[in-house]
Amino acid sequence: MRTGDAGVFYPDPARSWIAVAPVRFVATLLLVLLVYGFSIYFVDFDLGRLWSGLPKLAHWAAKAWPPDARELGVLIERAIETVAMAVVGTTIGVIIAAPCCILAARNITPSRLLYTPMRWFLNTLRGIDSFIFALLFVAAVGLGPFAGVLGIGLHSAGTIAKLWSEAIEAVEPGPLEAAALTGANRLKVISYALLPDILPNLTSITLYVWEFNVRSSTVLGVVGAGGIGQELKNSVDLLDFARLFTIILIILAMVTAIDQFSAWLRRRLV
């Protein structure tokens, strides 16, 4: 019998059988295998079809060279439009998210009654992609970037509010309690004791969503909601691969630049 320093025997604290390592390992392994089995079955995974499609892809790739830069001016203008859509859309998201995230953060919500419906509402916004919102708005307000902006705005409102409220829930309660104990109302506590500590975090989240929105704006044009995606779709429809290649290069350059810029800004914040 092994004993501790004092000559006392310490029995291991009792655990439930499910917490025992080998049981947990086998259960986890089975679960992972099951998930893969189902998933591969459902997606019709077939390497043979990829193989037979390869020549077609190679043919297109050959036709794409050299890239067609004749419409470079127009395309760049469209790229700028894409970034602008992300800027305005994200801003709409921020404006909607700001009041929502306060209701949706458990530690500062003024009403437990509104907390759950607000969570549901935000999950709905987040669950519907900008693309789907844009599809609806194209039908409602017509073709063009405005529909795209509205789509981005609604979807990002859900994402931003959810990430913000999680950031708010993660703050330590002490300073908020200290402020509340001076008799300060909720608005004072939030603006004075909460915001300074988490503003860098909130800004970083917003930049991250904006970055994401630049990427998702590139495809909104496919449903006619503005941006460079519109040109992309035109080129695919016309099988104009040289022009398509130029567009893809522009998108790559734009997305990379935006990601770098946003990452740099976020690093400076914290």
Partner: protein, 252 residues
């Protein structure tokens, strides 16, 4: 503010009890603190000192008994009235609870939040009078030279002093201090405790302070309360506190 004479009990706790699940953390605790009086609570780690402070300020909900702070029956209050009552309590937390990215001065100004209009708080434009109060409080705890230093780079003892200044700046009728000198050297600890005693006398404030060190309790408090595993086992004038009490409180 109602005028209080030294004889009125400013803080009155009657039969207070608090459970966390099955564990009884406060068991039938009753005592009074008069205006202008300093009462020390002595208790070993886990005795329930912090829990007592949290119940008195309603950061935690107690299970039974009554808590009176002046005219406020704390356990029955809610919403706006609770805010008003809380505005009269200056609580010094064991963990300081400063806002990390704000300066020492901005943290002390938290003590003024209850009084200053909301728009001014949001724009961070405190009236001259409140800024003066905050600076005076910082000066009193010897932290004036650090007024513009960010809270998260101050040492533990310095943060402790800023937290105390925040409570002073609040100009409350009641001060509750949860181990306010735990992270200070003996010399600074003495100066902080004398400040608490002085403001009790000057402003007729009821001060309740929890401590680990018996000698500080005897030196600075008027009365000493012993808490052991949530039960009050002593309530004596500091002068009458005996070695036997000490052993009872801290016996393992």
């Amino acid at each position: 503010m109602t005028a209080l004479s030294a004889a009125d009990p400013a803080i009155r706790i009657v039969g207070l009890s608090k459970r966390f699940g099955d564990r009884i953390v406060l068991d039938d605790v009753s005592f009074e603190v008069a205006a202008g009086e300093v009462v020390a609570i002595l208790g070993a780690s886990g005795a329930g000192k912090t829990t007592l402070f949290r119940c008195v300020t309603r950061l935690a909900q107690s299970d039974g008994g009554q808590i009176f702070l002046g005219e406020h029956a704390i356990r029955n209050l809610g919403g706006r009235q609770l805010s008003i009552a809380r505005g009269e309590i200056g609580l010094i937390f064991q963990q300081f609870n400063l806002i990390r990215r704000l300066s020492a001065l901005d943290n002390v100004l938290v003590g003024r939040l209850g009084e200053v209009p909301t728009w001014r708080v949001m724009l961070r434009r405190f009236p001259q009078r409140d800024r003066q109060l905050a600076l005076a409080a910082l000066d009193r705890v010897g932290m004036l030279p650090y007024a513009l230093q960010r809270a998260d780079i101050l040492s533990g003892g310095q943060q402790q002093r800023v937290a105390i200044a925040r409570a002073l700046a609040q100009q409350s009728r009641f001060v509750l201090a949860d181990e306010p000198v735990a992270s200070l050297d003996p010399q600074s600890a003495k100066s902080i405790l004398s400040i608490l005693r002085d403001i009790a006398r000057e402003r007729m404030i009821a001060v309740l302070v929890s401590l680990h060190q018996v000698e500080f309790a005897i030196q600075f408090a008027d009365r000493v309360i012993g808490l052991r595993a949530g039960r009050m086992i002593a309530d004596r004038p500091a002068a009458a506190f005996a070695e036997a009490d000490h052993r009872m409180i801290f016996a393992t």
